[in-house]
Structures are given as structure tokens and as C-alpha cells.
Amino acid sequence: MDFDALLLSRLQFAFTIGFHIIFPSFTIGLASFLAVLEGLWLFTKKPQFKNLYLFWVKIFALSFGMGVVSGVVMSYQFGTNWSVFATQVGSVIGPLLGYEVLTAFFLEASFLGIMLFGWKRVGPGLHFASTCIVAVGTLVSAFWIIAANSWMQTPQGFTHAADGTMVATDFAQVIFNSSMPTRFVHMVIAAYLTTAMVVAGASGFALLAGRPKRESGTSLRMAILMMAIVAPIQIMAGHESGLVAHEHQPAKVAALEGWWTTRAAQPTVLIGVPNEQAQRNDLSVSVPGLGSAVNNIAPDVTVQGLDSFAPADRPPVFIVFWAFRIMVAMGLAMVALGLWGAVNWLLGRADRAKWYQRALVLAAPSGFIAVLAGWVLAEVGRQPYVVYGVLRTADAVAPVAASSVATSLLAFIVAYAIVFSAGALYILRLIAKGPDSDEPEPKSNEPPGSPLGAAIREA
């Protein structure tokens, strides 16, 4: 493998976007969670909702900041490292990213200021409205970026202009491309579940540590509700997304399923080691015929395996195969934890179920793992194309020297290691401390409950 500008640029993009996606997938859910908490507080006046809001908003402020700064990187990397891609597709998905800035980023950034610092400057209604606007902004942002990415997976509504670049023929088709609706639903639910797993883990930790039961018990139940209802829906949404992928990206599905040969009644490979040289799975355990059934295909219909595609047109099978299994395993674990939690709740022992709470602490990062695995599956599964079937990744890279990209990649690794380990430390410190049972309201334009705010109260 040559460490040329192409490979290094791919590594750099994977690294920077991998770090970035962690934060939006957490803050999309957290923003909605905060809106619900603040709404419940305004509506019921129960103090635990206020205390939970003031606790989680600190974590939101930290995470959102990291999401913003790692996101700015993305908007410039298309040019610095993928300038040919930018030229080729700018007229098609450029406007989608433009709309993301105009409809979402400004909204989030401006009302975040009110949400974090406007506590004493606006009334409770307007503050609640700001929280809601930020939450909506995160969803609008997800809509546009998923639309753009889905177009790269299932491109439609475009043609080639005289100069060889792509131009849209119908922007409605570009935005609402075949894979966009299912992938948008799948991603938003993933974000909600990611947040629910963190909230559940933090609540479980607080209860295990003997912290105030009222707050942590409430947030635990909210997380269980989310898991129990939404995790099964997510399995269905993922399934729908898989069906769309099978229709439009058969090579991706063949890779994630581990189907090497074209045949009828494909199996479901539960586990195995894809062997690209021998074109088979080593050490595999599989259920014959189930793969076709799961993909809603009649048992007598021939289904394409990887041998239907030239080796140069296949994605890297091992990565796609395992990313899929990791994602599914996390999803199933969430379904199980949701059911287990629901049972504990119905038996009235959610606050005392120590083993359940320990499991939740362990599962707190499961959402992040699932999201990352899912995106690896989506993006690596699209290879060797950057726009599926239209533009190869190798043809999209910028005319930048390998030494330049190696330098920048190293700089990103060092910078992200420092920034994100510090961020993780501060978030974990907050979670270890847990919500106060009487989180005082902030008295100034400091972020509610920030160390500065805390100092003001003590002064």
C-alpha cells in the first residue's frame, strides 16, 4: 500500500469526520432531550426537571463546542484535499451544504448564545423557545448533510455538462434521492439512542454511587422509555435502509453480508472472517437461506454476490462486513437493555436494580460505537466510488503533495488527541459529579451551572 496523497487524504478525511460525527450524533439527541426537560419543567414545575436541565446543558455546551470546531474543518477539506470532487459535484450538492449553513448553522449558533447565556435576559418562554430552536436546528442540519451524503450513495437528478462537471436537472430529486428518507430516519434515531445510552449510563452511575434518586431516577426512566420504544424502531429503520441499499448498491450489501458467490437463497453469515484472496469467509457460522429472506427476496431468485463485480469495483469486504456486525450488535444490545429496563420499571425496581445499572454504565458508549460503525459501513461500502457509480475516489483527490497531507494529518491527530481527551475528561468529571438535587439558577450571563456560575453562587 502506497502512502500517496490519495490514501493520506482518505485517512485524514476518515479521521476528522470520524471525530466530528461523535459530537453531532450526541448533541442532536441531547438538544431534543434538553427541550423536553425544559418543557416538562415549565409545565410541571417539578424541580428535578430544572436540575436535570441545568446539569445536562453543561455537557451540551462542551459537546456542542467540540462539534462546531471539528465541523468547520469539514467545510474546508472538500477544497483542500478533494478539490476535484468539489469541482465535479459543486453544482449539485454545493447548494445543499449552502442551505445547511443558511437554515441550520446560523440558527443553532445564535440561539445557543441565548440558551447558554441568556438565562436572566429573556423570560422562561423565550428561553424555552431558544432551546427548541437549537434542537430543531440540529435536525435541519442533519437533514441537509444526510441529503448530500445520500446523493453520493444514490446519485440521481443530474447530468454531465459540456465541461464534464455534474449539474442538477432536478433539485427535488437530488435532495429526496432514493436513500435519503430511510437514511435520515436511521441517523436521527441513532442520534436519539446515542444520547439515551449516555443519559442511561450517567444515571446508572449516579444511582450506583448513591446520588440523589429523584433526578437520576427520573432521567433513568426517560432513557429507558427512549430505549424500549425507539431501539426496536431503529432495527426496522436500519432494515429499510438495507433494502434501499440492496436495490441501489448491491456490491455494498454483498460485502456487508459476506456473500461471495452469486446464487439463490443467500445465507446470513452470523460471524466469520472474510478472506479477499480466497474469496470466501473463513471460520464462518451461517444460516442458509436466511439472508435472502431478511432482504425480502424469494428463495428462488438469484442474488448478486461479490463475484458479480470486478475486484476493482468492490468495497473492502473485511471492514464493511465487520462494521455491519458491530453496528447490529450494538443495536441488539440496546433493544435488550430497553426491554430489561422496562421490566425493572414495571416491577418498580428501576432505582435498585444494581446489575442493570452496571450494564448501563458499560453500555454508555454503545451509541457512539454503533454510529461510527454505521458510518464506516456507509462510506467504506460506497468504495471505490465517492459518488456511487459516477466518480471514483481516486479521481477526486486534490493536487496536493503527499508530504503536505502527511504533515496535516499528523497535526490533526495531535490536535484532536489533546482537545478531545480534555473534552472527554471535563465531560466525565461532570458526569462523575452528577446532577445536584438543588441546582441553583445562574445569576448572571454565565452559562448555567458552569464553574464560573458556581463561583458566583459561592461568592
Binding site: 453544482s91 503536505s404 490536535a415 458566583i456
Partner: protein
Amino acid sequence: MDLPMIWAGLIAVAVFVYVVLDGFDLGIGILFPFAKDSKERDQMQAAIAPVWDGNETWLVLGGGGLFAAFPKAYAALMPAVYFPIILMLIALIFRGVAFEFRAHGRNRGKTFWTAAFAGGSLAAAIAQGFVLGAFVQGVRVENGGFLGGAFDWLTPFSILVALSLVAGYALLGGCWLVFKAQGALYERARNWVKVVAVLTALAMGAVSLGTLGVDPRVTARWGLSMTHIEWGEFIKLAPLPLLAVLVCFSLWRRWKGQPLILPYLLAVALFAIGYAGLAVSLWPYIVPFALTPADAAAADNALAFLLWGAAPLLPLILAYSAYVYWLFRAKVDPDASYH
């Protein structure tokens, strides 16, 4: 007017709004090391904390807008200024997270994030100066792609531009503090403005002369050449440098009058003059001396589609941004950040 020119105008406005808004919060970072103590630095951050994120979004609009409206300009420019852009992005990461992290850090952590905020702000300003310098110098483009070397951007001229942008941002930052700070910090900010106004004036003068030298077309635009002055051309444009001198003088005289926002507005005027001077020099290029907006534009239907959104949304964005500024218009409480 055709779509590429409308979009070139909109992106030029977005970049200008970015420069004068994020300029003051980067400037406050640049002035961070000169504050008396941690308490003053808390006030300096509090003066920008609610608005910095919105300010930085204009940079995303600049980058995203260039990608959407002028993909060929974006593709030609970004690889040409690869290292300055990467430096800017990493610097913005450090100074961006420092707002929250500085408040969460304990002893060493707080010291580190204080340094990261100052260093990140300074490095971002320098990097943006390099980008601007490289842009003004012109970019080697062939067949739509960048064809120069990895360090083409690094010249005495771009170093000069970087230094003057640091001075200019510090001026914006100092003026913003005059507007937002009270007590000792307010007095200190007044002094900073006085010093930085002189530095900015000198730097702007040097950059102006340097710009005349980057390309004969620019020199001719101003009615100048090595041997004589075309007075007819020069007189039409001479008010720009004269106005700049006047504004710098006013800032140096420590404008005492109300409203206190006035020094900041003067600094914005100074940037507007410099911006207009650049526009005059580089017209009609979007990638100087290589691509015009028409050469680099996206397909007309893409420009139209995005314009349908931008036409109602940009005024709305300006309106709610203004509302947030109005909401946080009060002076920063000197005790607000006591701890």
C-alpha cells in the same frame, strides 16, 4: 446583473461580515496576554462568549458558499493555501473549545486553555493573513487546478499581510472591549486601541504599497507606474487612503464621545476602506489574475436554487443575529466572573 456577479457580491459581503465580527473576538484573544490577570481575561471572554459561535458561522458560509457558488474557485484556491487553511482550522479548534474548557480546567488546565485561546486566536489571524496575502498575489491555475508549489503562499508580502491582519484584529478587539468593558479593563482597552491604531495604520500603508507591486495590472488600476502618475485615475481613488488615515487618527486620539460603540464602528470603517481598496485592485477576479466569477461559477440552476433560499434567509439571519447582539448589549459586569 447575472447570477455569478450576484453571488460574488454575496460572498464578498459574507467574508466582510466574518472579518469584522470574528475579527473582534479573535482580536480579544490576541490581546489576552496583555490583560492584567485571570479576572480580566474572564471579562474579556465574557464580552464575546454569547456571540463568537455565530460570528464564526460566517466563515463556514464563506467556505460553504464558495464551494456551492464557485466550485472551481474553491478547488483552485484551497490547495494553493493548503497549510494556512489547515493552520487556521486547527487554531480555531483550540481557541473555540477554550471558551468552555478554560472554565472547566483547574490549575494547569486553566493555564493551558488560556494560552490555547490566545495562541489559537493569534495563529488563526496569521493564517487568515497568509490566505489573504496568497490570494492577492494571485494563484497559478491551469486547466482549472492549482499548479503551484506547497509554499507558494509564503512570501514577504504575505507575511506583511499576516502581521497587519493581526494588528487589525487586535484593533477590532480593543474597540469591542471599549464598548463592553468597565473599570480598569475599559481604561486598558482605551490604551490598547491607541497603540494598535498606530500599528494598524503603518501596516495598512505597507500592505497598500505592497499590493501596488504584486501585479502591473493593479498598479495601473490606481493610475500609477514606475515613471509617472496618471492623476485622473489616481484622484478618483485617492479618497480611500485619505479616509483610512483620518479614521486611524480618530482612533489614535482616543475618541471620548458617546456612544462607546463608535470606536468599533470606526475600526469597521477602516476595514471597509481596506476591503474596498482590495476590491478596486483585484476587480474582476475571484481567483486573482486567473478566474473571474463567470469562469468559476456553478451551473446557473444551482446558483438560482441557492439564491431562492439566500434572498429571504440572509436578512432573517441578520435580524436574529442583531437581536442576540441587542440582548447582550450591556457592559460585562466586572464581578460577574469572580471566583
